[in-house]
């Protein structure tokens, strides 16, 4: 992956982010509701509403507001939310931490479950173990997150007391506690992801095992374990890497149900709150952050992909 290629990809990323900012702006305009009404309540008079809108600059034209936001944002000032006076950059920092950690943990757990299970199932293809694993993955794919969450909380928080039922402990208060607080939400997310990864990897490995070089390896007398780990896994991992990357992006801003159920102050609920209150300042920044994280992670994945598969270096 040469520098020129990378520069090109970065350029594309910048274009995508610019487009995201504009789309956010347009969507922000068509959202129902009114920030002043949200803040001032149903008994506000037109004068109070006008005074409020003047204070937060909402009496400027839409384009002016966008440009104001953009100019300030480019100098590193994301403003404060009129809803609660919190600085947006501080809020993003606070909320990115649990979101990112949750995703990392969920991905790690999902891979830890899916990779061995898929290898085993592929190896025992068609046998009971494979069927059970397949059935479980089909079921998990179809199970709504909230149902998994309720079950996990009941068993592991209420009955066994192994993990807190809700809440997030920031890293600053100790990594151990942070892990404990993210355990149940991460497992909830990981089970669904693991089902997806399992299916992709299992089928990839089965495909690979049919290749001639595997037959050759087998003929050379390599043990099944050596064949699986050394020869079959790596090519089958490639599609998985792409998938993991895509998921990172999707989950960073999209785990709203999980954030709500487990009372985790993440980016998803922050975005949702901004949409509901029509909080323009917050909305622009949080959507852009989520999109930027997505683009970055996928760029990283592409680089990783190139490292894993030398053939890709010259493609495209």
């Amino acid at each position: 992956m040469n520098a020129r290629y990378l520069a090109g990809r970065l350029g594309q990323a910048a274009i995508v982010l610019a487009a995201v900012a504009v789309v956010t702006f347009v969507l922000g305009r068509i959202l129902p509701g009114d920030l002043a009404a949200a803040v001032l309540g149903p008994t506000a008079t037109p004068e109070q509403t006008a005074a409020f809108n003047h204070r937060i600059g909402a009496d400027h034209s839409a384009i002016e507001q966008f440009l104001d936001w953009l100019t300030a944002a480019l100098t590193g000032d994301l403003g404060t939310s009129p809803l609660n006076g919190q600085s947006v950059s501080a809020a993003l920092r606070d909320r990115a931490e649990p979101s990112l950690l949750l995703m990392l943990l969920a991905e790690a757990l999902a891979l830890a479950i899916a990779v061995p299970a898929a290898l085993w199932a592929a190896y025992r293809r068609g046998r009971p173990a494979d069927r059970i694993a397949n059935g479980a993955s089909s079921f998990l794919l179809a199970a709504p997150q909230f149902a998994i969450a309720v079950l996990l909380v009941y068993v592991f928080a209420v009955r066994l007391g192994w993990a807190p039922a809700t809440g997030y402990t920031p890293l600053a208060q100790g990594a151990g506690e942070t892990l404990r607080s993210l355990m149940l939400p991460a497992v909830t997310l990981a089970l669904g992801l693991a089902a997806v990864y399992f299916r992709v990897l299992r089928n990839g490995v089965i495909e690979t095992l049919r290749q001639d070089y595997i037959l050759a390896a087998r003929a050379q007398g390599l043990t099944p374990r050596e064949i699986l780990l050394r020869h079959a896994l790596r090519p089958a991992l490639l599609p998985l890497v792409t998938l993991v990357g895509l998921n990172f992006g999707v989950l960073i801003g999209g785990a709203v149900v999980i954030e709500q159920l487990f009372a985790i102050p993440g980016l998803g609920t922050y975005a949702l709150g901004a949409v509901r209150a029509k909080d323009f300042v917050v909305l622009q920044s949080v959507v852009l952050l989520i999109a930027a994280l997505y683009v970055l992670v996928n760029l990283a994945v592409e680089v990783l992909y190139g490292l894993l598969d030398p053939r890709i270096r010259h493609a495209r």
Binding site: S138, L141, L193, V200, G204, G254, L272, V275
Partner: protein
Amino acid sequence: MPVDTLVPTAEATHRDKVTTRRARPGAATAAASVVLGTIVLAALLAPVLPLENPEHTDVSALSAGFGAEHPLGTDALGRDTLARIVYGARVSLTVGLGATAIGAVVGTLLGMIAGLSTGWAQAIVMRLADVLLAFPALVLALAVIGAVGPSATSVTLVVGVLFVPGFVRVVQAPVLSLAQREFVLACRAMGMSATRLMLREILPNITGLVVTYAVTMFGLGVMIEGGLGFLGMSVPPPAPTWGGMISEGRQVLAEHPVVTLTPTAVLVLVVLCANVLGDRLTAVFDSRGAML
């Protein structure tokens, strides 16, 4: 899993090649077809079926269990669960089918354009897909649904738009390689128009792929509608939706778990069946491909 796993499952399924099950339809496929068929039929015939009014509340039968009068019991407002599931299916299926259709048609078209063309057209399509993928799906959903008003139409529209990039990616890669094949090059050399090329030569070759992916996306669409309903962003009450029923039922989860478990089970069943059919189709198209 609602919106969250939109892309994952999408990505997953098109690579999903359950090649172990070869061509013969198994009992699972048959059962899945029967279940889905029954639900589709019931949804279509809902107005003429002997069902109660799904919005009729009955305070004398709150959270009633299974019984003769209400086969699947009632919810916390005494509304007949069976009727609500059947009428809710109309919403779920409309969203599942409609969104898949939007995603498939628009996505396939754009994917073919991106696969066959180079330069600007390709760049624009792929960047558009990137923007859609990078954009938080819920923000998009809320904005569109808020602007248009919550209805089966707006939910279908927004989920359909969210499905487009998945189809683009599924279609673009194989089209890219098809474009290098002799028969396509030959057609081009003979001066066949791009439109004709796409429809006559390329499309038949990717139909299997698109159909397979679409079946799984249908299941996902149903799941997403459930998720949106759960967050209160689907068709507004009192109209029944599965997600809404699950969410409302949670209020009485402790005393009357059945109220929320029944619609959950139906949702799981439908998505499961769609996935089983998707697997089956994959196997069919795979084995056909193998014979080529």
